[in-house]
Every structure is written in structure tokens, then in C-alpha cells.
Symmetry: C2
Subunit: 596 residues, 2 copies
């Protein structure tokens, strides 16, 4: 199944919703002129479609394999990764001083979407390297930066995140891997890490593990965790490779999906300890890891959008080809199934959710760029706060909807969808990891409730609500049936979200369990409202463009319809979520363990 | 993962909600005394848990294989099927005159649930044979009945349904398989049938295909389709086997799930035509097939419930074992994840949906039995109408929720859920066929809208609403906080369903596409309301029992909580569904094909 990048929608979102012009005017972002951005996206689209997308089925049919500690990736992956690096794609959003292109996150985000749409398994390797780069940029020593960043950006070395251990999944307080200082600035690391994506592979010259571990006498819990840099091959001061380090891939997992992406069990220190260096300060590893994780969480949200887009394209193509049953309008002959109302409903549900999630994610990337590049500290802080509120929503909601979209895509194929050769089933399997890794949806929801809502007393959320009401008024002023229908649903939904935010803030002290019983529904509600808001903004702008005769009529009209569909079928769920959260928290916790 | 049959809940539903006593008093159902029923269920539970359930993983890891036209099933399946037949389980609900046990459908239904929970792939073979038995009982000649029914019931022969062809899936009007009369009462059948479950296997001595085909000069469309009986081995008048018939299994599918169940492509007539006999009259094959299909649709709904129960049990067991993170109440040590509110929410969503769907399905089976055995024609008709309204809801809703439940079960396992060895992923894969075969959810929804709602002007649906309001009043009269909360949600939801039924009936003429654009949401709404109603009835009765000190307190209290949870988290969705259906139909159809 070919992949055609949805460049039209991407550019619309960048330009009309995510303020690309504003971002491009920020200090350090001047490269992002409209022409450059369009050229970069087109070239990335070509690369992803032609080089990476054809390997997606291949990866499912010929997963990475393990033998005697080495991993052989899917045929074609090595070459594709070399082409990816050679073309400079690893460096899109990274600083020019280390060899990157220095483009804003807003431009890197559609590139990320395209790569993931083309091939989720493949995209994970650069995604993890991005995280390692971000961690070193934030907390690495100058030496670490000089030694590692150019190699990462060149694609000669790749990065990994080593958090999970058999007893420590969602709860990092339970990490037991040890790091013993050697007095020479290095540490000896020993322990077992599991679920390490691209923890071992044959696509790069070196693999650099970022490892959470405890030094001797470190405090208990998350305050005693440090972050270490542990390369597979030791690195000399001149950047050349030395001996093999004491880290071994003892197996890879047999997974439901993303089979081409090797998920490693890594054993550190069986021969006396793997040699590592500290990143940042001792006992503050989790802070750095959180920077890396936030970047990765955003990226996993983008994975959801990319995968959903790919599943959607496949379903559309099948629906336009498959002839079955007559049209309900009474025509005599069988027609393609895209004429059937329920197939339409399914396609609209996919299309509208994807466009909502895409718009929200790109808008968040824009906030990130402003937060990092704006001259005014106050502006930076406000945008950073918005970005941080949005990250768990983008990760949690976009991945939950990706599973839904992939499942709907399979359904549109009918019986053929269940046959592996068709390919729709792969998306259904691949999608299923997205709500789990980089923090399950519940972990995202905890973040949304705790750090993002309760900590500031709901202030940021309320500020967003005020922005949403501006869109409401703009729609009402347009006074078309579409804009009024969208406006009404948006207002209702925003009121529901507002009520939930108030409930969460007010109830946290008195009944914490009832609040967290509604945390995932709150995240879902926030996704629907924020995503629906972006579509509402899009409809508003599309209407203006149509009025003034600018832009592509077909595309703009579709945007209005899509926003209205989303309002009627998704924003309309907001009140039910509100009542489930506000009234339904107690019944969640009411049973005894034995009653399950 | 062991399977423990939920006998407590099954018996509660049979006795308290589905009127087992009433059914047992019907002519022909006298065998179904409370003692017999309990003994049958216990014995079935033992058999399913001990013999069939252990083969479930086995079937996933060692699917059926095809070689040179023969299919070898998963190791152990042959023996298990023999044990199943020898114990008489194939005959539970079939007439004693052909060797069955003659028990009502109400008793066969929990048996079916247990078999499917134990092993969905395995259960499909008896399920299809049940369908063939039902078709012959309805339309077979005396000779066909005498020759085939005892063999089916003994489990020496099995049945299949041959509907689908490459160009004819949901639309049977497009069936092209030919049947040419030979003048001796037989026909020669030729054509290709696909997706034939257990179309070839090694578990029985003969396989009897029920095949839709067209005679020469038959009318176009569905009115020219006849049903034929085509055995793999020809059958002599004395029941002994003769020559191999001209039907060959040319391949089996490589599927996402239910891998042990062979899905065959059957080629009829490459050597001059497979010999078959007509079932019923020429050109009326679809009517008989619909009987078989209705039985099979109900059974697939039960598959959903069984699979969901199994996935739930696995998730509960993991949630009670896996230690991770501290309790939110502030205790110092990490606790099992069942203490986490979001895990609770997920478990409650699984438990409440399963119990709602189970209650609805068993109640429907009770209506079926009354419709088939009651002395009074008017009573029979009323119950038949209720059963027929419920069948598409049970098929469509129970299978959609099974996918949701299986996915939630996987989520509870975190990263381990994505690893195939854990087993949770198998349920996620297996469940995915349920909303497709025996008519997709959209096909069920078409049936609900067309034949079950519009045809009688919504009369039956309104009658159900009146029954629901009786439950509402009974709950209000109990005047507890739980009963009031449930009652309010039930009333709201029933009103939403009522509004939708009116909309469907009134809009069918003026805007048929808008109606069908909301058909699946209508089916979902009907499922939520009818299932929630059964839980509301259950809560009402549980409260009475608790008041009078009868029954098991723990179980009854859990039932009330579960009903309340369902009311707050699912019945609460009814209004949103109503508005999506009533107001959102036009936006579904508003785009041009080129805009997708």
C-alpha cells in the first residue's frame, strides 16, 4: 500500500492554525521560510513514500531476528537508515552547530508524522535518537555533546532509553540497576533492562544507551536515580571506537506488532560492569529523563497520527475499489462501498479524528518553538505551560484514537481485513503499542491531573477555555448553519471540560481516588475539546477563505464538513464524559478486590 | 491461563432475569429443572475448563495447516472434539428424536458461552454444525433429516455455511455458484466459495456443506438463490460413506486471529460438478439460510461475551498479582495494580459490559424458547418479535464490546500485554473477527433499522420502552441512592432510544441515507439501553434479596455496584448517541468521493 503524504492538510495546519509565520520570525528560526518549509516537506514526503514506506510490510513479514547476542534487522532497513541519515533527516530539528538543520519543532513534526506513517517500526530508531540528543543537549557535559551529538545527527550512532526493569515499569522508583563510581569519572553499570527499543541492531556503527541506575548509598525512590551514558562500543577521545562494552542483548521480544523494531532485553555488567559516564548530576537522572520522555511522548502522539493516517488511506482506497451492494438511492447496479452510509460514517470518523489530532499536535509544536525562542520570558513561560498541558493529551488521546482508527480501517475491509496479506491487520497490531510505551494512557492522565491541572489550580486550563470561547464567538458571528452547529457543540463541550477541571481541582484533597478514577476520561475529554477546537478554528478560517475566494474550494469545504462531523459525533460526547467523571468516580472504587 | 466459568452470574441471570422457571414449565422443556440445569452447567464448565481451554494457546501457536487439499488441525483438537461429541454436548439444544438432549436454548446459551470462552477457534466447529442442524430441522426433507441429523448430533459429521464468494460478501445477490439439476433429484454444483469456516478439517468423518447457488434460469438477485446440501463424502441411503464428492479445499487463510480455525477456499465442481441435494424449495434458499444465520448471529454474539469474559479473567488475575507503584492512599509500599483507580475503572468497564451483554443474550434466549414452545400463538408471536429485535443488537453490540474489552485487558497488562507469550494479545486478535463474520456490524444495523424497526413502525421498540419504564418505577420505589442513580440514567437513556426510534421511522422515507448513516450508532444505543436495562433489573432484584437476607451478599452487592457503574459510564452516553444520530446524519454524507 503506497503512502501519500497529506501535504495539503499539513500546510494548511502549519500556516493557518499553528502560526508558522510567527515561528519563522523568532530568533534562530529564520530558516523556516514558507519556501524552505514547503521544499523540506515535499522532499521528506518523497523520501518517506519511496524509500521507507515500501519496507513496512516487509518488516512485519521479516521481523528483526536475534542470534548469539546480535540482532539482524529487516532486509532493507540498514540501507534505508543510511539514506535517511545521509539526507540529513536525523538533524532536522537539531542545532546547526552539531550538524543539524536547526529547523523549528513545528517543521520537524510533519516530517516525524510522515516517517511514522511510512513505517512505524523504522521510525522508532530515529525517534529514540532524537530523545538522546535532547537529553544530552539539556544535561550533557560539553565533552559528551562534542563527542556524541554530531555522530547521532550524522546517523552513525543511535540512541536508546533504558528505563524499564522487570519489577519497574510504570513505577521508576523501583529501578535497581547499579552504578558504582570508579574514581576516574566513570561508573560501572550492572543490571537488567527490558523493553529497550532498538537496544541492539545492525543499522549503525555504535549504539548509545541512556540508562537509569542507582549509585551506592543513593536515596530510595525516584530521588536516588541517576542517568548514565553507556555506549555499546567504548568511545575514544577522538571519537573513534574502542572495545566492546559490557552490555549484551540477551534476547528480543516476540511481539503483537511493530515486529521490525527489535525490543531488547539488555544485560549490563556480567563481566564486571559496563563503563558509563554520568549525564548531569547524581540523583537527578529522572529530571533529565523526563525531558527526553516528554519529547518522546509528544513523538509517540505523532506516531499515532501517522499510523492513523496510513490506515485511513488504505481504507479509503479499498472503499473506492470494492464493489458491493446497490446504492440506497435505488440505482440498479452494485456500487463501490464508499457509497454506503456506514462506510462513510467510518471514513468520516477516521478523517475527522486524524485532522483534529494533527492540528492539535502541530499547534503544540508551535507553542514549544515560541517557548524556546521568543525573546520575552513571560511569553516563553506562557507557551511552555500550554505545551506542557497539551503533551499528555497528545500522547494519550492521539494514540487511543489511533487504535480506534486502525480498527475501523480493518472493519471497512470486511472479511479481507482479517486476512494478514491485506495489510490492514498490521496497523491494528502495530497501533496497539502506542497507548502503552512511553507511559500508558493512565500515566499520561496522571500527569494531566497532577502536574498539569492541580498544581496550578486549573489556571492554565481555564485560560485555554477563554481562548476556546473566542473561537465560539467568531463562529457565531459567521452565522452559517455549519458554523452555528459547530459553535454550539464547542461551547457545550468547553463547559463540560471546565466543569471537570473545577471538579478535579476541588476534589483532589477530599477524594483523590475518585479523581484518578476519572483521569483517563478527563484526558479523553480534553483531547476531544482541544482537538475539536482546532477543527472549529479551521472551519472558521476555511469559511473566511471561501468567502473571499482564496484557497482550494474542495479542500476548504471538506474542512468545514469535517469540523461539523467532529462536532456532531465527538464534541457531543463531552457531557457524557463530564457526568461519568464527576458523578461516576465512586462506583469505580466501590467493589472489594474479591468481588472481581 | 485457566478459565473459570462464571457459574454464579450465569445462574443468577437464568433464574432471576431470564425466567428459567417459566421456560421449564413450557411443553417440551420439562427436562430443564433447576437441578438438571445446574448439573449440566457444572459439567459443561468442567469439560470446557479442563479439556478445551488448555488448547487455546496451542491453537494460536500451532494453527491448522493445509497440504495438498487436506487440513490438519491443531494437535489435540481431534481428541477434544471427539470428547465433546461423546459427552453429548453437540446435542444439548437439539431434539431428542435425533439423539439430542432437547434442552431449551436458554440452557444451551451458557454452554455456548463457556465453550467460546474456553476456545473461540474450537467452538466454531460445533457452532457451524448447530447452524446446519437448525437449517435441516426447518427446511430439510424427512430423508435429509434422518440421514444427517443424528450424525451431526453424534459429532461424527460436521456442518459448514457456504455463502461468500470473492465478489459476493455482504451482498448475497451477487452469488454466482451454479447448481444444475440432473433429473434424478440431485444437482451438480460448481463455483468458488471463500471464508468457509471449518470448510476442511480432520476432526470428523464427513463434512456437510450447506451451499448457496443458482439453478439455471433462476431470477436475478436474492430471489434466485437456492440452498444445497453437499457432503464432502457422498452418503449412501444407509448412512455409510461413499465416494469423495467433487469439492476441494484449495487453500486456507493466514489470519490475524482464531488461527486454529481453518478458513477454507472451497472449489466445487472442477471434475464435472459436486453432487448436492436441494434443501427446501428452489429460489428460497436465502430464507432458510437466514434461519441458520440468525442462529449463527446469536451464537456469534455469545462468542463475544465468552471471549470478553476470558480476557477479563486474565486481566483480573494480572491486576491482582502485578505489584507496581504505591497506593494513592499514601501507604509506603508498592501494591498490586488492582489498587490503582484507572485499573479499577478498566476492570469495571469490562465487568459491567460483559454482565450487561450476558444478561441481554440470555433473556433473548428465553424469549426464543417461549416463542417456540408456548401454547398460545399470540404469546409466541410477541416473544418471537422481541427475540428478533434483540438478535442484531446481541450480535452487533456484544461483539463490538468484545473488541473493546479484549483491548482493555491487554492495556491492563502494560508492556507485557504486547508480548505474545503473555496471551492477552491473542484475545485482541481473536476478537477482531467477531464484528465481521456472520454479517458485519453495519449489516446487523441494517437489519435492526429495516426489518426490526421500520417494518412495524417502531411498535415493538416502543413496547420494550414501556417495559423499561416499569423497571424505572420499581427502582424509584426502592428509593436508595444506588437505585435512584440507576433509575435516572435508565430513564434518560430510554428516552434517547425512543427519540431515535421515532426519528428512524419518520425519516426513512425522506432521507434514507441519513437514517443509515446513524444505523450503527442506533445499534450501539440499543445495546447500551437494553443491556443497561437488564443490569437495572438485576440491581433491583439484588436489592430485594439483600433486604430479605436471601442469596450471597457479596455477589448481590457487587451486582448493584456494577449496575450503577454501567449506568454512570455507559447509559450516560445515550444522549450523545441520540444527538449524533438525529442531528449528525447529513454531515456523514456531505463530502464528495474525491474529498476523501
Amino acid at each position: 500500500m503506497p503512502y501519500v503524504a497529506p501535504l495539503k492538510d499539513m500546510l494548511f495546519v502549519l500556516n493557518e492554525l499553528a502560526d508558522l509565520q510567527v515561528v519563522a520570525s523568532l530568533p534562530g528560526c529564520e530558516e523556516a521560510t514558507p519556501e524552505t518549509v514547503e521544499a523540506v516537506l515535499e522532499e521528506n514526503a518523497r523520501f518517506c513514500s519511496e524509500v521507507v514506506a515500501p519496507l513496512n510490510r516487509q518488516g512485519d513479514q521479516h521481523p528483526s531476528t536475534w542470534k548469539d547476542g546480535t540482532v539482524t534487522t529487516t532486509p532493507g532497513f540498514r540501507e534505508a537508515f543510511k539514506a535517511y541519515s545521509d539526507a540529513g533527516w536525523q538533524g532536522v530539528q537539531h542545532p546547526t552547530e552539531f550538524g543539524g538543520q536547526g529547523l523549528p519543532k513545528l517543521v520537524a513534526t510533519p516530517c516525524m508524522e510522515m516517517l511514522n506513517a511510512a513505517n512505524l517500526s523504522f521510525a522508532l530508531c530515529p525517534l529514540l535518537t532524537d530523545g538522546a540528543i535532547e537529553a544530552l543537549m539539556t544535561a550533557g557535559s560539553d565533552e559528551q555533546k562534542q563527542l556524541f551529538l554530531p555522530k547521532f545527527i550524522e546517523g552513525r550512532w543511535t540512541g536508546t532509553m533504558n528505563l524499564t526493569e522487570p519489577q519497574a515499569g510504570s513505577d521508576l522508583a523501583m529501578v535497581r540497576t547499579k552504578a558504582v563510581p570508579q574514581g576516574d569519572g566513570t561508573y560501572r553499570i550492572s543490571g537488567t533492562k527490558i523493553f529497550i527499543t532498538y537496544g541492539e541492531h545492525d543499522m549503525s556503527e555504535n549504539i548509545v544507551h541512556l540508562v537509569l541506575a542507582r549509585t551506592p548509598n543513593a536515596p530510595e525512590g525516584v530521588k536516588g536515580i541517576s542517568l548514565f551514558l553507556v555506549p555499546k562500543y567504548l568511545v575514544h577521545a577522538d571519537g573513534s571506537l574502542g572495545d566492546r562494552n559490557d552490555v549484551v542483548c540477551v534476547s528480543i521480544e516476540h511481539k503483537l506488532g511493530i515486529k521490525a523494531s527489535p525490543t531488547a532485553v539488555l544485560q549490563f555488567g556480567d563481566q564486571g560492569g559496563a563503563i558509563g559516564t554520568l549525564i548531569g548530576e547524581e540523583n537527578r537522572g529522572l529530571e533529565t529523563m523526563f525531558i527526553m520522555m516528554n519529547a518522546a511522548r509528544f513523538a509517540v502522539g505523532i506516531q499515532g497520527i501517522g499510523l492513523a493516517e496510513r490506515a485511513y488511506q488504505k481504507a479509503v482506497s479499498y472503499a473506492k475499489e470494492r464493489v458491493q451492494s446497490r446504492d440506497l438511492d435505488g440505482s440498479a447496479n452494485a456500487v463501490t462501498i464508499i457509497h454506503q452510509p456506514d462506510v462513510r460514517r467510518m471514513l468520516m470518523s477516521m478523517k475527522s479524528q486524524i485532522e483534529a489530532a494533527r492540528a492539535l499536535a502541530y499547534v503544540a509544536a508551535s507553542h514549544f518553538d515560541i517557548a524556546h525562542h521568543h525573546a520575552d520570558e513571560n511569553v516563553r513561560q506562557r507557551h511552555q505551560a500550554i505545551y506542557e498541558y497539551m503533551v499528555p493529551v497528545i500522547k494519550g488521546w492521539s494514540t487511543e484514537l489511533a487504535i480506534d482508527v486502525a480498527s475501523t480501517g480493518l472493519q471497512i475491509h470486511g472479511g479481507m481485513g482479517f486476512i494478514e496479506e491485506t495489510g490492514a491487520a498490521q496497523y491494528y497490531r502495530d497501533a496497539r503499542i502506542l497507548t502503552i510505551y512511553e507511559g500508558t494512557t493512565a500515566i499520561q492522565a496522571n500527569d494531566l491531573v497532577g502536574r498539569k491541572t492541580v498544581r496550578d489550580g486549573g489556571q492554565l486550563a481555564h485560560a485555554l477555555m477563554a481562548d476556546i470561547r473566542q473561537t465560539y464567538h467568531a463562529l457565531v458571528a459567521q452565522a452559517t448553519p455549519d458554523s452555528q452547529a459547530i459553535a454550539d457543540r464547542l461551547e457545550e463541550a468547553a463547559a463540560a471540560l471546565e466543569a471537570v477541571v473545577n471538579y478535579v481541582v476541588q476534589t483532589m484533597q477530599s477524594d483523590i481516588k475518585a479523581v484518578f478514577a476519572g483521569s483517563v476520561p478527563y484526558l479523553k475529554l480534553a483531547g476531544i475539546v482541544l482537538g475539536g477546537w482546532q477543527l472549529a478554528r479551521a472551519a472558521c478560517i476555511a469559511h473566511e477563505r471561501l468567502q473571499s475566494g482564496q484557497g482550494q474550494r474542495e479542500f476548504l469545504e471538506a474542512k468545514v464538513v469535517t469540523a461539523r462531523f467532529f462536532a456532531e459525533h465527538y464534541l457531543s460526547q463531552a457531557s457524557a464524559l463530564r457526568s461519568a467523571i464527576v458523578e461516576g468516580g465512586r462506583s469505580v472504587m466501590a467493589l472489594e478486590e474479591a468481588q472481581f
